[in-house]
Symmetry: C2
Subunit: 450 residues, 2 copies
Amino acid sequence: MNSDKYDIAVIGSGPGGFTAAVRSSQFGARVVLIEKSFMGGTCLNCGCIPTKFLWQALKMKQKIQKSYEYGFKTFLEPIVFADIVAKKDKNISSIRKGMDLVLKSHDVTVVSGAASFKDKNTLRVLNDGNSTNIFADKIIIAVGTDPLIIKNLEFDRVKIIDSTDVLNLQKIPKNMLIIGGGVIGIEMATIFAGFGCHITLAERENKLLPNEDNEISEEIKKNLLRQDVEVLTECTNALDNLDNMDKYEKVLIATGRTPKGDLNLEKANIKITKNGFIETDEFCQTSTSNIYAVGDIAGKTLLAYTAQNEGAIAAENGVKGNSIKIDNSVVPQVVFAMPQSSSVKVSNFLNYKDIIFGKFSLTASSRAFIENERLGFVKCAVDKVTKRPLAFWIIGAHCDELVNTASQILKNGIKLSRETMFHPSFGESLFNAYEDAFGMCTEITRKKVK
Amino acid sequence: MNSDKYDIAVIGSGPGGFTAAVRSSQFGARVVLIEKSFMGGTCLNCGCIPTKFLWQALKMKQKIQKSYEYGFKTFLEPIVFADIVAKKDKNISSIRKGMDLVLKSHDVTVVSGAASFKDKNTLRVLNDGNSTNIFADKIIIAVGTDPLIIKNLEFDRVKIIDSTDVLNLQKIPKNMLIIGGGVIGIEMATIFAGFGCHITLAERENKLLPNEDNEISEEIKKNLLRQDVEVLTECTNALDNLDNMDKYEKVLIATGRTPKGDLNLEKANIKITKNGFIETDEFCQTSTSNIYAVGDIAGKTLLAYTAQNEGAIAAENGVKGNSIKIDNSVVPQVVFAMPQSSSVKVSNFLNYKDIIFGKFSLTASSRAFIENERLGFVKCAVDKVTKRPLAFWIIGAHCDELVNTASQILKNGIKLSRETMFHPSFGESLFNAYEDAFGMCTEITRKKVK
């Protein structure tokens, strides 16, 4: 049995763990990063990146098919889905190689294997039957989550599949039932419907994205219907109510994520929540003071970028002592429907009582004309008293970039100003929506009733 | 002779004048907007919009040609440039109709004709030989600029052309000499080279975009060379030194813009600068107190969005008395090269003495992988003492949107935070460049020498 001693051991190489490892090294720590599967975790291998690649391929297909709007005559040969998937895998592999280089340049030791706690400073790492002990002063847990299994319905990986399986399908099924109308369900419905699969999307609540603004939720539904997706809501028990599972070639379960287990957390006295996530405070510290947990496994926001943020915070606190805290007062969210949808609001949004709303349709954006992307709008909530913007909801091309602009505005309570926004851009729609809240947008027709 | 009396008369319907007219109406004024040519001014008819449309068409062509990166097999028939131009004109015409509707809904009276001053409250408007007098309490001048003529070289509109003529060419010339390596020259070189014209781009100074950061200027040059553009710098007298004008099918003069004349400004005692621009103060007010001037004719920044801003300011000050001032402390700039380039810095940038720089290449961005847009970088200048970002220079896809995010950051002295930036987006590159200024970017290899 080999053993090794580190300042910081990080378990899991997704956005949270990767960032934690590199940042710890930047602060001078001797770091080991333990990964039991592929470098990059869920985000790179079976989450954000492959999903966005397939979405981008769909977008490209649609762009080609509408290129006559620029006077072009284009012919697209019948699409071979396996060819797209191969390109996706090639891209993932390139990004993974880049990550390896970054880790190497930061002198992070990478160990393959499944880690579990022996005590609060010792990890046992199993790899191909070989066991190694790793000792570390501080440990950062970033193991992530797995797709949630529905009771009595095991994944058979052929017909009953999860969000990882679906990303590796080599051909487009004739039809597919997707259970779960959250972000993952909507994104897969969009992509696979776009490539010709007949999709039935079943959501338990009375609308898609149950926690999202109604107008956004409705608009996403409308755009899915435009793609011939069958949208079922209030499927309180999707499996019982849906008459016949036989008629579906595939059934994708996308009802949520569940914490990865097998860490022997009890050996280090690490407390978990009733849903199995690791309890952490604002320093990302667990109930055991030398151990931190970041990203999905800490169950706060389940987003790659907040995981990265938490990874950096845990690294700094781990190396230098607790000094910086999580600030999730402004965190954007994006859904890759077609077109994309995004939203961001201040975390104390509900405290504001006197809110006015502005809206700007992309049909009035000259840049949207130029790009032939006129579907969508920006909606803005503003505190009437201070004129401070409180939230933006954005549907349409580039809204996944615009939402970053919106985030900066909200985070800092900025009143928007015209000269800071390039024309013609999509981004200036944020300004126009903001001005509309006061009935002062100069780019749209006057509302006769305010 | 007819006559009419208004609270506000606006001369010119470009971004400045259009905004001034609508905003004046929103404040309750009785408004007339006088336009001697097409609604929308330079920006819509022979500036930003047609340029960006042609650029977008080129982008589409390149996207189609690279669609094999998504596993597609695509055939693009030989491009007929006149078809693109027809689509451009169709889009411009649609946007123009939208502007008409906005003006109508705001009860702005639109008068066709060329306005000139009779006195400080009276304009004479000539249209097809008919003359009308318009009386207004306040007048906002927004007549814009024309392309600058080079001494001894008149535009013949066939071989020697300006930026308006070039946008209406019905076919791609075999070759073209472009005199002037500023924004317009670079954009036209990019577009026409992209569609197969052999371009010679001649700049008087020792680099393209003489006022821009060297690294950006060099990168733009490199990308033009990649497009087979011949780039000549230090052409102190382009016309003498360039051996033989005969060899060029077209010569585009893009050396600058000059104020439009013929307003009889002296009748209203309006002072002009030595270059012929109208003198205005921070309220957009001219030397004659009831008269304001906005946009290009006021010669401040010659940008559509600052013109819009000034239009809104002049309208508010005109209707309600001087109360708001121009604040050009943060104004982004964009050049539609291929890829685009943008920059924004705080106006007092030169006052900072202890500046550190960060850089993030798009080759390290996973979103850039997904979109197959890995050319470019973000460079960030940060005040070492306060850690406040002071400038961003961005080359690459979507930088015309990212620069809006950068502007919000600069305008408000924000230190960037990871969780406010969606992953995977291009926008998060701003964060990565910022972190690199401190040697703390977690997404790139460690620099061995800092």
